[in-house]
Amino acid sequence: MTTGMHKALRDFWQERTRTILVVLAIALGVAAFSSVMSSYAILTRELDRGYLNTNPASAIFRTDAIDDDLIKAVLSDGSISDAEPRRVISGQIKSGPIQWRNLVLFVVKDYGNVRVSKLEHEQGSWPPAKGELLIERDAFQVAHTKIGDVVTVKTANGVENKLVVSGSVHDVGQAQARMENIVYGYITLDTLELLGEKPYLDQLNILVAQKRFDENHIREVTSQVQKLIEDHGHQVRRVDIPAPGKHPHSDLMGALLLSMSSFGLFVLALSGILVINLLTSILAAQVRQIGIMKALGGSRWQLARVYLGQALLLGATATLVALPLGMIGSRALCRYMAVFLNFDINSFAVPVWVYLLVVVVGIFTPLLAAAFPVWKGTRVPVRVAISDYGVSQASFGTGVLDRLMAGIGGNYRPLVMSVRNSFRRRARLALTLVTLSAGGLFFMSALNIRASMINTLDRLFAVRKFDLSVAFSNPQPVEKIRTAVNKTPGVTGSEEWFSTEASIADKESIRRSDGPHSSSAAGLHGGSENEDRFSVVALPPDTKLLTPEIVEGRMLTSGDADAIVINTALARKSTLMRVGNTVTLRTGPVDTDWKVVGISRETFSPPVAYIPLSFIQQRHPGMANNLRLALARTDSDSIDSLKLQLDKNLESEGIRARTAVSKEDTRFAFDQHMIMIYIFLIVMSVIIGGVGTLGLMTTMSVNVLERRREMGVLRAIGATPRMLALIVLSEGLVVGFLSWIIAAVAAWPIGKVAGDVIVGLLFKDGMKFVFEPIGLLVWLLASLIFSAAATLFPAWRASRSTVRESLSYQ
C-alpha cells in the first residue's frame, strides 16, 4: 500500500464518524438505485415469463354458441396452434349479509385441459364441481369470503343461487381485483346452467401457430379465422387482439419503474453532494498538510490521488454496504409490485449486468463528486497553506450578504451568531440545503399530488348527480323501469339512458384491445390510446343527472339530433374529434355522421361520447339499457337496502338488472389507484429526507470541527457546555428552516410538474393542481425535527470538548 493510501485510510479513521455518515448516505443512494434496477430486471422478466406461461390468447372472438365442429374447423387451420372456448358473463355476488359485489364469471368447459390463457390452481377443489365456484386469489377480499363459504350469486336473469366457494385460482391476465373492486369467479357449464343461464360458450380464444409476437401476422390470421367462423354460420360480434406477449399491465409497470429509476438516480446524485461536502471539508481542514506535502515535493496530481483514493474508498465501502441492502429492498419492491399486479415471482435472481452497473455507479459517483473539491483543494499555494491560522480564517463580513446579515441583530447574541454561522460556508450550505429541501419538496409534492388527485376526482364525480347506476343486459321498456323506480322509496331523481359502443367508421373493424378480458374490466385501464372502440352514452334532453364540465363548445340541448359531445380522452384519440367537425361513427353495423358540438373534461376516464337519446329511440323506441338514480340517502347501508327493493320491483316488472354500482364503489376503485402513487411519493420523500438528514449531520459535524477553536473561545468567555450545544443546535435548526422555505417555494411548481408527469405516465391524463397548505406545516415540523436530530450529535460533541483541547485545535 502506498503512503498516500495509508494517509487516506488514516484520515478517514480520524474522521470516522463523518466518514460513516457519508458512507451510509452513499450506501442509501446506491441501495435505492440497486433496488430499482434489480426490481426492473426481475419484474420485467418474471411478469413476461409468468404471463407467457399462461399461453395468452393471440385473439379473442366473441360470437354465439360455439360447437365442437367450429372448434375442429378452427383447429384444422394450420396457422392456429390451439383454440379454446369460454364464456364471460357479468353478475353479482354476496357473502352473508354483506352487500352485492360486482362479479365477472368465467365459464370454462374442461378445467383439466385449459391450454389457452391458462389458470393456475391455488387451493381447494379443482376442477370445481357443479354448484361450486372458484375465486381469483386477489378477489377474496373484495368478495368478503373464504374457501368453504356459501355465497349468493345472480346473473343478468336475476335468479339468486347459492354456490360454494370451493377453491382459489390465479389468473395472471386479470387486473388486481382489489383495485378494480370486482370479484372474478370461475365455474363450469353445469354451474352456469344451475344459475339459470343457457349452458353454452361464446368466446373463442385462439393461439397462432407461428410468429406469436407479430401483431400484423396475428391480424392476418384473425381475419382468416373470422371468415371461417362466419362461413360456419356464426356471427362474430367482436374481436380483441391483446398486445402480443405483453402483460396487460406491463406499460403501467414500466411507467412505475421509470419513475422509480429516476428517483434512484436522484437519491444517488444527492448522496454525491454529501461526498462533495465531506471532501471539501476534509481538504479545508488539511490545507496546512497539503502545503507541507507540497513543500516536501508532492505534485498536485500526487496529492489529488490521495484524496481521490478516499473517494474511491468511500464508494467501494458504500457499494459493499449497499449491495445486500439493495437486494433486500429489491425483493420488498418486487413483492409489492407482484401483489399490485397480481402475479407470482418464481426467481429473485438478479442478472450480472445489474451487479456490474451498481458497482460502477456506486464507485464512480463519489469519484465524480470528489473531482471538483479535490482539484480545488489541492490548488492552494504552499505559502497560503502553511500560514493558515486562527478562528478568523473564514472571511465572514466582507460580502454583501454578510453585511446584510450583520444588519440583522437581536438581543440574544448566541442566536444571532447561530443564524450568521449558517451562512459562513455558503457552498456547503447550498449543497446541504439541496439535499434537505429535496426531501421536503417530495413530501409536499406527494401531499399536493394527492390533494390534486382527490380534487380532480371530486370534480369528476361532482358532475355525476346520480348515486346509483343500474345496467341491464338488454334494452328494457322505459315504462316498466319507471314503474319499478316509482315504487322504490328513497329515489329523488331518475333517468333512463342508453349506452353502447362505437368506433370511428373509417378504421378497420378488428381492433386491438388492452387485455384478454377487456370487456369485463372497465376500470382505469379499460381505455388505451391504441383502442379505437369507445363508449357512447345516449342522454335524455336536458339531463339533470349529468352536468359535464364543458371545456370547449357546448353541452347537448333538446333540439339536437346529430350533435355529439366527446370527453377529453376521446378528443385526444383523433384529430377529427374537434368542435365543429363532422365525424362518421360506426355503432353496430350502422355508420352515422355526427357533428362535434362540445368537449367535456373527464380526467381519468376512458373515451366516452354523449349523443341525444332521440337517436337511440328511433331504433329502440321506448327502450333503455341503463338507469341512473339520485338517492335521498347515500350511505352504503341505505344504498344496499334500496338496491334490494329496486331489484324486487324491477323483477315484478320482469326486468333483471345486470349490475348496480353505486358512485361510492366507483370512487373506491379510483382511490385505490391513487393510493399507489401517494405511497410511492411518501416513501421517496422519507428516503430523501433520510439522505438530507445524514447530509446535515455531516455538515454540522464538519462545521463544529472547523470551529473548535471558536468553541474554545466561547467557553473561555463564559459559555456553558449547554449553551454551546444550543448554539450548534440553533444553527442546525436555521438550516432546517431555510430548507423548508426553499421546499415551500418550490413545492407548487415542482409538485405540479411532477404530478402531471406521473399521472401522465400512469394514466395518460392530466389533473387539476391543488396546493395542500397542511403540507407546509407538517414539513416545517418534520424539517425542524430532522434538523434537530441531525445536529444533536455534533452539538453533543461540541459541548464535550474541553476548553484547552478546543483552543489548541489546529
Binding site: 486562527g390 463580513g397 448566541p414 473561545v713 467557553r715 468567555i717 459559555a719 457546555p721 476548553v803
Partner: protein, 220 residues
C-alpha cells in the same frame, strides 16, 4: 487574589507522560500586573490555563478570589470563568460572525450581566475605553490587527472581571500597537484588575509590576 499550591500538570501523550508544570506555588495580589515570562514550551500557556480554569491540574490547588476552582463542575466552571476572568488571546480570537460590539456583548449574554438594554451601552463604553468606538458595528475581518486586539481586550472586560489573562497579546502586533495595548493592560491593573500576561517580549519589563519566569514547567 491568585493562590497556586503544589500545582502540577501532566499530559498523557502517545510518547508517554509529559510534565508540563511541576510543583508550582505562586501568589498574586489583587490589582497586580504580572508578566509570565518563558521560552516557547516552558509551560506559560499551561499555567495561564490553570489560573483561568481552562484546564485542570493533575495535582495541587488553584484558588482564585477565594474560590478553589480545580474541583468545580464544568457548568459551574464556565459560569465562574465568565464572571471572574477575562481572556485575551494572541490571535485575538474575535468571533467572525459578530460585529465588534456584539463580540463584547456576548459574554454579558452568557452571564446575564446587566439588563439586556444596557449591554450595548456598556459595550460601547468599553470600546471607547480602548479607543475603537468608531469600529463598533464592523465585522472583525474588516479591522486591523491592533483594532481587533483592542476589541478583544474590551471583550475581556465585558463582565468587569477581577482577573484578566492574556496569552501573548502582542505577539501578532507591530511594536507601536503592542506598546499601546500593553498600556491598556497597565491602566486596567492600576484600576484594580489583576492582570497576568504570558509573553516573551523583553520591553514588557518597564510596564509590569512583577515578573514570574518559568522554565521547563518550574518557576525560577
Amino acid at each position: 487574589m491568585i493562590s497556586l499550591q503544589n500545582l502540577s500538570k501532566e499530559f498523557q501523550t502517545p510518547a508517554g507522560s509529559f510534565a508540563a508544570l511541576k510543583n508550582i506555588n505562586l501568589d498574586i495580589n489583587r490589582g497586580e500586573f504580572v508578566g509570565l515570562i518563558g521560552k516557547s514550551g516552558s509551560g506559560k500557556s499551561t499555567l495561564l490555563n490553570m489560573i483561568g480554569g481552562i484546564d485542570r491540574p493533575t495535582t495541587g490547588k488553584v484558588s482564585i478570589a477565594n474560590t478553589e476552582i480545580q474541583d468545580l463542575k464544568e457548568h459551574k466552571l464556565a459560569v465562574w470563568r465568565g464572571r471572574t476572568v477575562g481572556f485575551v488571546f494572541q490571535f485575538f480570537q474575535l468571533l467572525p460572525t459578530l460585529t465588534a460590539v456584539e463580540n463584547i456583548m456576548l459574554p454579558m449574554d452568557f452571564n446575564g450581566t446587566l439588563p439586556v438594554r444596557e449591554r450595548r451601552t456598556r459595550a460601547l463604553s468599553l470600546l471607547a475605553r480602548v479607543g475603537v468606538e468608531n469600529q463598533a458595528d464592523k465585522m472583525p475581518v474588516t479591522l486591523s490587527g491592533g483594532e481587533q486586539q483592542r476589541v478583544a481586550i474590551a471583550r475581556a472586560l465585558a463582565n468587569e472581571p477581577a482577573l484578566v489573562l492574556a496569552d501573548e497579546p502582542t505577539g501578532n502586533l507591530d511594536s507601536v500597537t503592542a506598546h499601546s495595548v500593553l498600556n491598556l493592560f497597565r491602566t486596567m491593573a492600576t484600576a484594580g484588575t489583576t492582570v497576568v500576561i504570558a509573553t516573551h517580549e523583553p520591553e514588557i519589563a518597564g510596564i509590569i509590576d512583577r515578573t514570574v519566569e518559568i522554565s521547563d514547567g518550574t518557576l525560577i
